[in-house]
């Protein structure tokens, strides 16, 4: 039986063999692999790119103190971007399932419509959830827009939910029981993390501090955006640092949300603020890219 990490290794080598850069996770808190600059920024513009990376994704509101067998505050996504999407992409994807030992002749595989959308990123795409025996194992999306911009080349994004996929392969009902490596379960590695961050996110996070931080990061991003037009050597300009500030804002928003500190009315407003930054950074990145 393959362990959690075996499966990760296999998928990474599978996509490495298909020309992907194997990246490591982005070192800031993100809600999904899509938000890492390797996806959000790289899908923009006319330059082809192929990348695969694991991205631990934090969704504070989904935490359950490590007690729910299926829900996690932080889960592992394997993110694959092929830009542009090759014509045989579905075949390649099915090949990746075979590579981790899924004999599709003994299971039931379906693509069911599921169009992905991220209002905070001004991004959306057309696609499916890939269902294996009734379980959603991958989100499969042809990106159409990112940062409010129509994409030049249409990338495909494959997002594998690694815990679910492993639980399925190992026949486990509880993600904490899956084997991470010989002698270590997922629970051994991660339970404390789930418990402590649930306590922090739901109970102890300082609301006033989080709001303050959100404003500070938003301000820093805006300061950079304002400095851009007059900056003399645009190729040196820290567009990527400005994007880091967007990611910080997005995560702080999620934290405030899980803390119950954002009313429904405020929600729309804050999402709008983050979206505005994301869209502006995307435009700046495209301009910088065009300089070559």
């Amino acid at each position: 039986m393959d362990s959690f990490q075996d499966i990760l290794f296999r998928l990474k080598s599978y996509w490495a063999e298909r020309g992907c850069v194997i990246q490591e996770p982005y070192d800031l808190e993100v809600g999904a692999g899509t938000m890492a600059p390797e996806t959000f920024l790289r899908v923009l513009g006319p330059r082809p790119y192929r990348v695969a990376y694991i991205q631990p994704s934090r969704r504070p509101a989904d935490g359950r103190y490590g007690e729910n067998p299926h829900r996690l505050y932080k889960h592992w996504q394997l993110q694959v971007i092929l830009k542009p999407a090759p014509a045989d992409i579905v075949e390649q994807y099915l090949g990746s399932l075979r590579a981790i030992g899924i004999d599709l002749r003994r299971h039931d595989f379906k693509f069911e419509e599921d169009n992905w959308e991220s209002p905070t990123l001004g991004a959306w795409g057309i696609g499916w959830q890939a269902m294996l025996d009734g379980l959603e194992i991958t989100q499969f999306t042809y990106f159409q827009q990112c940062g409010g911009v129509d994409l030049d080349l249409v990338p495909v994004e494959l997002t594998y939910g690694m815990e679910r996929l492993t639980a399925f392969l190992q026949g486990k009902d509880n993600v904490f029981d899956i084997e991470w490596a010989r002698g270590f379960t997922y629970g051994d590695v991660r339970r404390a993390d789930e418990l402590q961050f649930s306590v922090y996110n739901f109970e102890l996070a300082g609301v006033a501090t989080l709001w303050k931080l959100l404003e500070l990061h938003e301000g820093e991003c805006q300061r950079l955006l304002e400095a851009w037009p007059d900056y003399p050597d645009k190729k040196r300009f820290p567009v990527l640092a400005a994007y880091d500030q967007v990611l910080k804002c997005s995560h702080l928003f999620n934290l405030l949300d899980s803390r119950g500190a954002i009313s429904v009315t405020e929600r729309v407003g804050v999402i709008g603020r983050v979206r505005k930054l994301a869209v502006a950074v995307a435009a700046m990145w495209l301009e910088q890219e065009a300089l070559g």
């Binding site: 542009p84 299971h107 169009n115 025996d133 159409q144 030049d152 080349l153 009315t265």
Partner: protein, 673 residues
């Protein structure tokens, strides 16, 4: 009949199941139009369209090899300029030279503008294959889908999902064309897992080759396979399928080779309400539910695979595991939600936005309560209105939003609310579609009315008015719901009073009324227009007038009288006369005028005497005036030179018109004359 057969297969990645049937209808229509426009068929050609998630297929037979030849008339110089003393001029010679023929091949044709030198050019019909090769790429991309994508790069063609292969055969030959970089050929593709990816086909063996490769092309075949599979699974178990034709259709269009599999779940989950179990199974997993012979849910489900079998039980086990997790969640939500009663959630509604401009659900609740009281609701109805929206703060509704209302009702029952209250909460979103029933109880109907009327008034007041296909707040459905509850629930309420003074809202409702009677109930449009033009408020009254009009319409006097009413209306309009008033009997001429007056008064007295509204009697009485009305118009000059006389006559006609126009405006009736 001989001719050529055509096979067109558009091979795609998986098309969303609900878009498939309308796309096929559109494909068929577009192709029929192409045949007509390119003169490849004179009448409707036998066409068959089929689809699976990965292919849209059109087959036609008896197409001609080529278009019929045609003739084109090319006009040259006028005769006077073409010939001088019997000899062709330079103009005529030039015209012939341009066409590459002799002048002798030209002829004189007379036109309204005079005689001209002309050439009848014989145009050979184009080969059908060439016409199709030119037209099919555009036709394919014209098929309508509610949401499309591009995949070859910005500005590239749009389709529902990427096109990956194309089969186009006319007889034995490929119709050559290209769409989105894909070249048409004779190679199709089998089932993703069970079939071969590249299969060469001919028109004759196409369907059979697909079948060999685990693709059942015809939806009816897949439907039958599901049905037979279900029957085989349930045979001898005493279990029954809970009928769900909508879900079966979904599964038919989600599979190329459907095979049902029977699974089970722990019986302890049956403690959850049936609605919750069915929703988890149906909406989230697309499983069919199973009952015992009494119709009670059993701890089983049927999943439909896109496979030929599950000999090792792996698919069943996988699906059981997924369902178990989902049911665990549902039970967890149920338990957590019971810790806080619905009533205690009222305050929380102040934090739930109803709509940015319309405030919170707390405010909406207050308005609904007030409206239910105005509508004459009982204390039970008022209580239901108060609690109706509280389930929006429950974990269960956050997870299963489609169960809003239903969950509130079930929680209210569990928390000891009387049946009249919980049932009203349970039903208050109904009717959710044209097929859905209206709430079963009076309390439920009133709460539903209050909910919908509040939404309509609120949105219209804020200018959030539906336009074209944009109706983000589902206001058309809300108004349709109001109409159906009032009409089908026979609630005699002054609707206009509840709509308020907003003219746009009244007009919107009139539109909905027209739609309801004409398109849903299938009534004749002129009758609906006639009754609506006479005004509407209490919809049960509107309904009675419509029914009466329908009854009286076929009687022999009715239509001629409707014609006379139109005439009266015109006379009054031309005279700019609208007043009803008192007729001076002394000014009436003996004969037809007095007779009509007398008969009209007798009829009016009868109406007063009957008192209660009986529109059919009223209309019959009116129709009985026909001989007098006919005579009147034969013999009496309404526009008499004497002003007093004219005034008196117009008054009588206005009275006559007014008396019956409250039932229907007869000038709207389309008469054969």
């Amino acid at each position: 009949m001989s001719g050529l057969d055509l096979l067109l297969e558009i091979g795609t990645e998986e098309i969303p199941h609900w878009m498939i049937p309308p796309a096929l209808r559109d494909l068929e229509r577009l192709f029929q139009e192409l045949l007509q426009a390119s003169r490849l068929a004179s009448g409707a050609v036998p066409i068959r369209v089929d689809a699976t998630p990965r292919r849209l297929v059109l087959r036609a037979s008896s197409l001609p090899e080529r278009q019929p030849d045609s003739e084109e008339l090319l006009t040259g110089p006028p005769r006077t300029a073409a010939f001088k003393v019997g000899q062709p001029t330079q103009a005529a010679l030039g015209f012939a030279r341009k066409l590459g023929i002799e002048v002798s091949a030209l002829e004189i044709q007379s036109t309204p503008k005079g005689d001209y030198l002309c050439y009848r050019k014989q145009v050979a019909g184009r080969a059908t294959r060439d016409i199709l090769a030119d037209a099919l790429p555009e036709l394919i991309l014209k098929i309508y889908f509610p949401k499309t994508m591009y995949w070859t790069g910005k500005g590239g063609p749009r389709f529902v999902r990427p096109i990956r292969w194309l089969v186009a055969l006319l007889g034995d030959e490929v119709v050559p064309f290209e769409v989105a970089g894909v070249q048409s050929a004779r190679t199709t593709c089998g089932h993703r897992v069970l079939g071969t990816p590249a299969i060469e086909v001919s028109i004759d063996d196409y369907q059979e080759k697909l079948r060999e490769n685990y693709v059942l092309l015809a939806a009816e075949e897949r439907r039958r396979k599901i049905q037979q599979g279900v029957d085989a699974l349930l045979a001898g178990t005493g279990l029954r399928l809970k009928p769900d034709p909508g879900l079966i259709e979904t599964l038919v269009h989600l599979t190329e080779y459907p095979t049902p599999v029977l699974g089970s779940f722990d019986a302890e989950f049956l403690a959850l309400p049936e609605e919750v179990l069915v929703t988890v199974m149906r909406h989230h997993q697309k499983y069919l539910s199973v009952t015992d012979s009494e119709g009670r849910l059993t701890p089983n489900f049927i999943a439909v695979m896109n496979m030929d079998g599950d000999p090792e039980g792996l698919v069943r086990q996988g699906n059981e595991g997924v369902l178990r997790a989902r049911l665990h969640d549902a039970r967890f939500f149920w338990t957590v939600d019971q810790r806080k009663k619905l009533e205690e959630r009222l305050a929380d509604l102040a934090h739930v936005t109803y709509q940015a401009k319309l405030g919170t659900y707390r405010g909406k609740t207050d308005r609904m309560v007030a409206l239910v009281r105005e509508l004459g609701g009982s204390e039970h109805a008022v209580r239901a209105a108060l609690l109706a929206k509280c389930d929006l703060t429950t974990e269960m509704v956050k997870e299963f939003t489609e169960l809003q209302g239903v969950i509130g009702g079930l929680y209210a029952r569990a928390q000891g609310e009387p049946e009249a209250v919980w049932r009203a909460i349970h039903d208050h979103y109904r009717p959710e579609s044209m097929e859905d029933a209206i709430p079963s109880s009076l309390e439920g109907r009133l709460v539903s009315l209050a909910d919908k009327l509040d939404a309509l008034k609120g949105c219209f007041a804020q200018g959030l008015i539906p336009s074209g296909s944009r109706d983000p707040f589902a206001l058309r459905r809300a108004a349709q719901g109001v109409v159906r509850i009032l009409v089908e629930g026979k609630l005699a309420l002054p609707l206009k009073k509840f709509l308020g003074p907003d003219a746009a809202l009244a007009e919107f409702f009139e539109d909905r009324l027209r739609y309801y009677y004409r398109d849903v109930r299938g009534l004749r449009y002129d009758e609906v227009n006639a009754v609506l033009a006479a005004g509407w408020d209490d919809l049960t009254d509107l309904e009675s007038r419509l029914v009466a009009l329908q009854q009286v319409r076929p009687t022999e006097n009715f239509e001629p009288l409707a014609v006379s009413f139109k005439r009266i209306k015109n006379i009054l309009r031309q005279a700019e006369f609208t007043r009803r008033g008192t007729v001076d009997p002394a000014l009436l001429e003996p004969g037809p005028e007095q007779e009509l007056y007398g008969r009209f008064h007798a009829v009016r007295a009868l109406r007063v005497f009957r008192g209660a509204r009986d529109y059919a009697c009223d209309l019959e009485d009116m129709a009985s005036l026909r001989p007098q009305v006919d005579q009147y118009f034969d013999k009496v000059l309404v526009n008499a030179p004497d002003a007093r006389l004219r005034q008196n006559r117009l008054t009588m006609l206005a009275n006559l018109l007014g008396e019956f126009s409250a039932i229907a405006d007869f000038s709207e009736i389309v008469t054969t004359e």
